[in-house]
Every structure is written in structure tokens, then in C-alpha cells.
């Protein structure tokens, strides 16, 4: 039996539906990173799991019990589902140690002595023992978030939900918080982490949910999602791609117009002048000197992709008209120019379509 089972979860607000239909199984010991562009329902999904948001429809089972059922005592369920918020939400009227002790003492009936000992042990673990008697507003952001994590695990939950735990932090403090989460993962804690820290997600999790289009768009291991995303939107997101599609209908197309579009695309993505020149030159040599003069190649599709992740530019050129590799079979001068300007050129031919993939030299 899975720890958490989500069945056809839907959450609609007036005018916007962040979650259309989400189903998933979460096993004990899973560390799941939930990634995706903003506004795709990552936080909403997390907040539906402990019913801070009431789902519009669908079911959520926790230990096999339907927690969306009206007779389910959600307060008891939440004790076993810890949550860490983007804005920490430590109780401002309590000291750090009191923040950690309050729920075990009040809700689990733990004695104050035991709660204090366990609380101090937790604080030592997150490196905050000396801040036990401080108030939240006397801590830095990173310290607050570590205290909030200690508070959540003081209840010995079966699963921890992290809602963008480092998004409100100064970049210098992100590391200390991730370190604590990493430690929890190593101890086998089941966790769902909504995050924008891709490297962290890749290192720490065993599963990744990429969310888009109202649901879990693609799911897989970190290797699958980060190295070989199967679906287009995932790829665009992971590589942080900027794309410029160009469609050429015939040989008399507006070359000047297309050139200026290429230049504009380059400037918008802050490419170097040299890089922009290279892109324009390759375009000119391949299309004007190589392909455009041949019969039956139109329409030609050109896709210029800039990846923010590795700062590379790839040009993909698709055209018809029988097998033709302009670098091997075309004009010698053009070929040598293109070779000089590119890091890698690949040609393939399948189903009557030529595909040329050129990685532009930096």
C-alpha cells in the first residue's frame, strides 16, 4: 500500500483551475521534487495534500484512509504530515524552543521535560541549539527555516511537505537549509519538495514531478527528467530554452526581415555580438547558398534554440526534397564557412525529411 495515493485530484478557483486531474502514488521513503514554471499548481498540490486547500474533487488516501471524506478528522492526519512554508511561519510569540515544543506538548501530550530534551536534540541537529531562547524575529532567514524544519519533524511525521523552502531566502542562506533537507533525505524521511533549486532536486530526490498544463506533465527519475526529458515542455523548462521558429515558404522569402528577427532574438537573450553574427552567417550559408536553390525543399522549418542552462545555441533546420546534406554535398566554400562557425553539425534523413542540427560555436 502506498503511503499517499492521489486520485483524480482537481482544484478550481473562480476563473482559474491550477489542478485539472492529478493522480499519483507516493511510497514510503520517496523524496519527490516537484518542479515546473510558476502558476502550474505545484504549491496548490502540496497544500491539497494536508487540506490547507480543500480539493474541488478527487480523493487523497493517506495510509489507505480517504482524508477527503467528510468524516475524516483532518487535525489528526495533519499531525502525521509535517509542512515547511516558504515564509517560515514560526510562531512570533514563542521562542525557538517553544515553537518546537508546543505541538508535541499540546497535541501529543508529551511532558515538557521530554519535549524540551527532544527539541534541543533537534535544534542541535539543525545547528540552532544556541538560539533556543531567541525569538523568531531575532533569527536570519536561513535560521528561521531550519527552526521551522525542526518544528515540523518534532511531531515525528510520516511525510514532510516543503513548499518552496528556499524561495524567500537570501542566496547565501539557501545552502544551510538545503543541507538540513539533504540530511533528512539520507535518513529515509519521505518528502515532497516544491523547489526551484534544480541541482538540489536532481541530487536529493529519487523521483521528480514536472508540473504543467494542470497536472503532472512528466514524471521520472532525476536522470530521466534532467538529462533526457521525453516531452517538449519539460525539455524547454529543464534546458531553460528560448526558441525562435522561422518558416520559409519559398525561395523569394523576406531574407532581410528574417535576418533582423534573428538579430533581435540574439539581443533579447543577451548573446554576444559574435554569436549573433555566427547565427546569421550560418543561416545565410545554409539556406541561401545551400537549400533554397534546390527543388521541392519548401516549406523549410528553422528553429533557433538558446539554452539558458548551458548558454548554447542550436539551430534545427527541417526540409523536404530528397536526401541532401549541404555540408557534404553542397558548395565547398559555404561548407567550410559553416564548419568554422559551428561546434557540431549533424545531418539525418528519415521519412522524406532532412534534418540538420547545428550547434553554433561560442
Amino acid at each position: 500500500m502506498s503511503l499517499i495515493t492521489i486520485e483524480h485530484l482537481k482544484k478550481a478557483y473562480p476563473g482559474v483551475t491550477p489542478l485539472c486531474d492529478v493522480s499519483a502514488e507516493i511510497e514510503k521513503g520517496d523524496v519527490i521534487s516537484i518542479i515546473g514554471p510558476s502558476g502550474t499548481g505545484k504549491s496548490t498540490l502540496l497544500r491539497c495534500l494536508n487540506l490547507l486547500e480543500q480539493p474541488t474533487s478527487g480523493k487523497i488516501f493517506f495510509h489507505g484512509v480517504d482524508i477527503t471524506a467528510p468524516n475524516c478528522s483532518i487535525d489528526l492526519v495533519r499531525r502525521k504530515m509535517g509542512m515547511v512554508f516558504q515564509s517560515f511561519n514560526l510562531f512570533a510569540n514563542l521562542t525557538v524552543i517553544e515553537n518546537i515544543m508546543v505541538a508535541p506538548v499540546r497535541l501529543l501530550g508529551m511532558s515538557k521535560d521530554v519535549a524540551f530534551r527532544e527539541g534541543m536534540a533537534l535544534l542541535r541537529r539543525v545547528g540552532l541549539a544556541e538560539k533556543a531562547d531567541s525569538f523568531p524575529d531575532e533569527l536570519s532567514g536561513g535560521q528561521k527555516q531550519r527552526a521551522a524544519i525542526a518544528r515540523a519533524i518534532a511531531m515525528k511525521p510520516d511525510v514532510l511537505l516543503f513548499d518552496e523552502p528556499t524561495s524567500a531566502l537570501d542566496p547565501t542562506m539557501v545552502g544551510e537549509v538545503l543541507q538540513v533537507i539533504r540530511g533528512l533525505a539520507n535518513e529515509g524521511m519521505t518528502m515532497l519538495i516544491v523547489t526551484h533549486e534544480m541541482k538540489f532536486a536532481r541530487d536529493v530526490s529519487n523521483r521528480v514531478f514536472y508540473m504543467d498544463e494542470g497536472g503532472i506533465y512528466e514524471e521520472g527519475t532525476p536522470q530521466e527528467i534532467f538529462e533526457a526529458p521525453r516531452r517538449e515542455r519539460t525539455r524547454i523548462f529543464i534546458k531553460r530554452l528560448r526558441q525562435l521558429p522561422i518558416r520559409i515558404e519559398n525561395a523569394e522569402f523576406d531574407f532581410i526581415g528574417v535576418s533582423s528577427r534573428l538579430e533581435k532574438f540574439g539581443r533579447e537573450n543577451m548573446l554576444s555580438v559574435r554569436m549573433i553574427r555566427n547565427i546569421m552567417l550560418i543561416f545565410e550559408e545554409i539556406i541561401m547558398q545551400g537549400i533554397a536553390g534546390r527543388d521541392g525543399v519548401f516549406p523549410v522549418h528553422v528553429m533557433v534554440e538558446f539554452s539558458e542552462a548551458d548558454e548554447s545555441v542550436v539551430m534545427k533546420i527541417d526540409y523536404a526534397g530528397g536526401r541532401f546534406d549541404p555540408l557534404a554535398d553542397g558548395d565547398e566554400l559555404s561548407s567550410s564557412i559553416v564548419r568554422r562557425l559551428s561546434a557540431e553539425v549533424k545531418h539525418s534523413y528519415a521519412g522524406g525529411t532532412n534534418r540538420l542540427i547545428i550547434t553554433v560555436r561560442q
Binding site: 487535525d75 495533519r78 499531525r79 509535517g82 509542512m83 512554508f85 517560515f88 511561519n89 510562531f91 508546543v102
Partner: protein, 525 residues
């Protein structure tokens, strides 16, 4: 610690300053009063015509207004709610004359020789007790009173009473309150206790000509007596509310006869013009009295004589009782209002908002009078309780807004964090949100409590003798404005200071930071 000491210094400085003002004002007062000066008979030939065109004081709610317009058509008029204020105004030159009843002015002149009156009567007047109109029971009592008056006039009793209260022998001026058996019920009489010699407070008791007549009447007809005390202007509304059967002496005028039912005349007199003695006497040199002797005399006169300090103590008691109970009940009510507004019910929320807006938009005095004379008009509920209800409602309206803004100011994340840990909505509210809201809003709340303390000074309007009213009563006997007023101000200031200190201590007890710092200091030791 340094901070606390600094505040203490400021407080001591303020108290010393105020004391200096009191002493200085007492001296000024004395110089103007000139007590003990043998004022000779008026030797300037002054008539009331000389005062036409000058500033005239009018006692609100009396027929002196119409008379003033008649005799001083070219004058400027200022309105006062009792003799004490008018005398103070006359002494300080804010007005130059006012119209008053001759017996009252006799008493005033005896106590305060630098106020005198022009002996020529403007009109001869009859003073009668007034009853509510169109009420069988009250008509019966009126008839009994007329019968009683006729008998007393015949056998000379009335003349005897007259000689006591208009005479000079102060020791005789006592009302025998015994023998009120009450087999025929209780009479509720409303009077104005700043109207010597008709009705005033002496040794902490209601006395005076009217009171004496009333008590004797009650004794003869088997009634018990309850006396209410309001300003002149509030007497007829008080009568109309049904809380009282009749009111003590009023001038009989045709206009009033339309509104009330008058008895036969209880006493007779006339309207005279009160003026400064210096305006009509040839020589008004005051006997020189030493500075400290002057202060001592003033103090003795205002607070020691007739045990007047007891009036002040009783007034403080009443003021504190009303403030304390109103704050307690009002805070509880405010809390309930807040809970109602937190529920999902739209109706409950709207009702609460309406309640708050309504009370915030009503002056406290008006609210009190509505409660006393209209809502609880016939219930016989004590005025102090009506005041507590009124101030509780008023305080609740403000305190609930304070509390609500405090609750709103607590970040919503606090609630979510509590829920996520497994606390219920109610636990989240009471354990985390409410304490933070209280901590943040306590300073504003403290201001509101002090403001309530001060606003209780209007309860005189509904016949309650609080601190302010008691100082009015003392002023009406001693005719000295400065000592009683400044003393009252200082007492209010000290009460406010006590409230402030108490609530600060409460804040220290609940504010987590101050709590922790104290703990740390304790550990350091």
C-alpha cells in the same frame, strides 16, 4: 531600570506643577473672593438697566432665559448649567450679571460676599413642585401635596420651615429623615442639588427647603422617599421618562404649565439681578490673609468642613465602579463581537458591524440619556447600572474594533502553521493569533480605558453623583471654582496613571520578549 526612574521623575514633576497651579489658583481665588471682608450696604445707586448691553449669564432650563431677554434685550448671553459655574464666570468677569432666585442669591452672598444682588425684584415668583401630566397616580399625589401644603400654611409649619432654611443659623439646617414608613409606597423625586437653599448637599446628605417639605409630606402620607439628582435642564425630561413622580421647586410659567402639572405654591420669591459686589458697593477692600493661611482656609472650606472630602471619596468610588465594571463587561462583549464577526454567518457579521457603527456614531451622553430615560425609563433600574450598561456598550464598540484590527494584523501564515501541525481552527486562534493580537493592541486598549474613565464624567446627566458631580456639589456650596476643579483634575490624572501602570504591568506579564528578558536577568543574578 533607568527608563522607569525617568518616568517617575516626569510624574513627580507633573504632580508638583499641578500642585503649584492649585496653590496659585487658590490664592488668586482668595484674592477675588476676599472672604471675611465686611461689605457695607451698597452705596452706589445701581439698577438693572445699567446692565443692559453687558454680558448676561443664563441658567439653562429655567425661565430666567425669557426674563433675561425681556430685561436685557441688548445683551450678549452665555448659558450655564448651574449656579457654581455662573458664579465663577461672574467672579472672573466672563459675565457681568445674571438673573437668579432671591433666596438662592441670599445664600450665595452669605457664603461669598463678593457676589451680591440688586435688591429690587424684577418679578415676584411662585415656586411649585411639578408632576407628570395625564397620570392618575401622580394627580392623586399632587392633590395630597396641595392638601398638605394648605394644612401647613394654616398651622404655621411652612413659616417655620421658611425660617430655618432662609435663616442664618446653620446648625438648624437639618432634615429629619426618620419616620418614613412607606406603607403607601415610594415616591421618586428629582431635584438639582446645586440649588441652595432649596436643595443642596450638606454633610453628604440631601437637605434644603424643598427637601424638608418633601420629607415632611412623605412622613404625613406614608411614603418612602428616593431622591434623584440632575441638572436644571434635565429635570423635565427626567419627569417625562416616568422614572420620577415629581420634581422640586420650579418657577411657574404658562409654557411649563402645558408640559407639567404644578402643585400649589410651595414657596415664594422673586427674580433678582446678581452682580459683583465691587460693582455696587463703594468699598470692597478685602482683609489681608497670609498666603499659606489662605490656602489652608480654602482647603478646609472645600474639603474638611462638613466632611466634604467624603463626597470626593464617594465620587471616586462611583467613578471607579462605573469605569471598572464597564471595562470588564465591555471587553467581554468586544471579544464576543469579534468571535461573531469571525463566524461564517454573513448576517451575524452585518449585525455586529451595524452595532459597532451605531454606537461609535452616538455621543456617550446621548446614549446614556436614551438608556436612562427611554429604554430603562420605567424599569426602575439604578442609574449607576444604566451607566455601566451604556459605557459597556460604548466601550465594546471601540474595543472590538481595536481587537479586530489586532487580529487582522497577525500574519495568516501563523494560522496555517498551526493548522499544519494539527491544531484545530479554535486552538490556532486562541493559542497563537489572539495572544499576538492582544500584545500588539494593548497600548491602544490602554488609551481607550483612560478615555472611558474620563468620559464617565458625564454621568451627572443621569443623576449619578460621580467625582465630577461631587466637585460640582462642593462648588455649589463653597462658591470656589478653583480648588475643587483642580483637585478633581488631579484625581482623574492619578486614576488614569494607576490604570496606565496596571496595564503596563499586564503588558509586561504577557509580552513574550519582556517575559524572556526578565527571566534572563533573573538567571544573571
Amino acid at each position: 531600570m533607568n527608563r522607569i526612574k525617568k518616568t517617575d521623575f516626569i510624574i513627580i514633576a507633573v504632580v508638583l506643577l499641578l500642585t503649584a497651579i492649585v496653590i496659585a489658583s487658590a490664592v488668586v481665588g482668595r484674592e477675588r473672593t476676599g472672604e471675611g471682608a465686611g461689605v457695607s450696604a451698597p452705596d452706589k445707586n445701581v439698577t438693572y438697566q445699567d446692565y443692559n448691553g453687558r454680558k448676561i449669564g443664563i441658567l439653562t432650563g429655567t425661565n430666567m432665559e425669557a426674563e433675561s431677554f425681556r430685561y436685557f434685550p441688548d445683551s450678549k448671553y452665555l448659558y450655564f448649567d448651574g449656579y457654581p459655574n455662573m458664579n465663577a464666570a461672574l467672579q472672573t468677569g466672563k459675565i457681568d450679571a445674571y438673573l437668579g432666585d432671591e433666596p438662592a442669591l441670599k445664600s450665595i452672598h452669605a457664603e461669598q460676599p463678593q457676589i451680591d444682588y440688586i435688591k429690587e425684584r424684577l418679578t415676584n415668583n411662585q415656586y411649585s413642585f411639578a408632576f407628570r401630566k395625564n397620570d392618575k397616580k401622580e394627580k392623586k399625589i399632587r392633590d395630597q401635596l396641595n392638601e398638605f401644603l394648605a394644612r401647613c400654611r394654616k398651622d404655621g409649619t411652612l413659616a417655620g420651615i421658611d425660617s430655618i432654611w432662609f435663616g442664618a443659623d446653620d446648625s438648624k439646617k437639618v432634615v429629619d429623615m426618620t419616620g418614613l414608613t412607606g406603607e403607601n409606597g415610594t415616591l421618586h423625586v428629582v431635584t438639582t442639588s446645586t440649588d441652595e437653599p432649596f436643595s443642596y448637599i450638606k454633610d453628604g446628605k440631601h437637605v434644603g427647603y424643598d427637601i424638608d417639605v418633601t420629607v415632611r409630606f412623605c412622613r404625613a402620607y406614608g411614603y418612602k422617599l428616593q431622591i434623584g439628582d440632575v441638572d436644571f435642564a434635565a429635570r423635565i425630561p427626567a419627569l417625562a421618562s416616568g422614572k420620577y413622580e415629581f420634581t422640586t421647586s420650579m418657577n411657574v410659567t404658562p409654557e411649563r404649565e402645558e408640559a407639567v402639572l404644578f402643585s400649589d405654591p410651595v414657596s415664594e420669591g422673586g427674580i433678582v439681578v446678581a452682580v459683583r459686589t465691587s460693582d455696587i458697593a463703594g468699598d470692597n477692600s478685602a482683609a489681608e490673609v497670609g498666603f499659606f493661611e489662605g490656602v489652608r482656609q480654602s482647603f478646609v472650606k472645600n474639603f474638611i468642613r462638613e466632611d466634604r472630602y467624603q463626597l470626593i471619596l464617594r465620587g471616586i468610588g462611583t467613578t471607579c465602579l462605573i469605569t471598572l465594571l464597564s471595562v470588564l463587561a465591555g471587553s467581554v462583549l468586544a471579544f464576543l463581537l469579534c468571535l461573531f464577526r469571525r463566524t461564517d454567518s454573513v448576517l451575524a457579521g452585518k449585525i455586529c458591524v451595524l452595532f459597532v457603527r451605531l454606537l461609535q456614531g452616538t455621543p456617550t451622553v446621548v446614549l446614556l440619556m436614551i438608556l436612562y430615560y427611554v429604554v430603562f425609563g420605567k424599569s426602575g433600574m439604578g442609574a449607576v447600572w444604566v451607566a455601566i450598561i451604556g459605557f459597556s456598550l460604548n466601550f465594546a464598540a471601540y474595543a472590538s474594533e481595536i481587537l479586530r484590527s489586532g487580529i487582522d494584523s497577525v500574519d495568516g501564515g501563523q494560522r496555517e502553521a498551526a493548522l499544519a501541525l494539527g491544531f484545530s481552527e479554535n486552538q490556532a486562534f486562541f493559542r497563537f493569533i489572539f495572544p499576538q493580537a492582544v500584545c500588539r493592541q494593548l497600548p491602544v486598549y490602554r488609551g481607550e480605558v483612560i478615555s472611558l474613565l474620563k468620559s464617565t464624567s458625564v454621568v451627572g446627566y443621569i443623576a449619578i453623583q460621580d467625582l465630577t458631580k461631587m466637585s460640582d456639589i462642593i462648588r455649589s456650596r463653597t462658591y470656589e471654582a478653583f480648588f475643587p476643579l483642580i483637585a478633581t483634575a488631579i484625581i482623574y490624572f492619578l486614576l488614569a496613571y494607576i490604570i496606565s501602570v496596571t496595564l503596563n504591568a499586564a503588558l509586561k506579564a504577557i509580552d513574550p520578549k519582556l517575559r524572556r528578558n526578565r527571566k534572563k536577568r533573573g538567571e544573571a543574578k
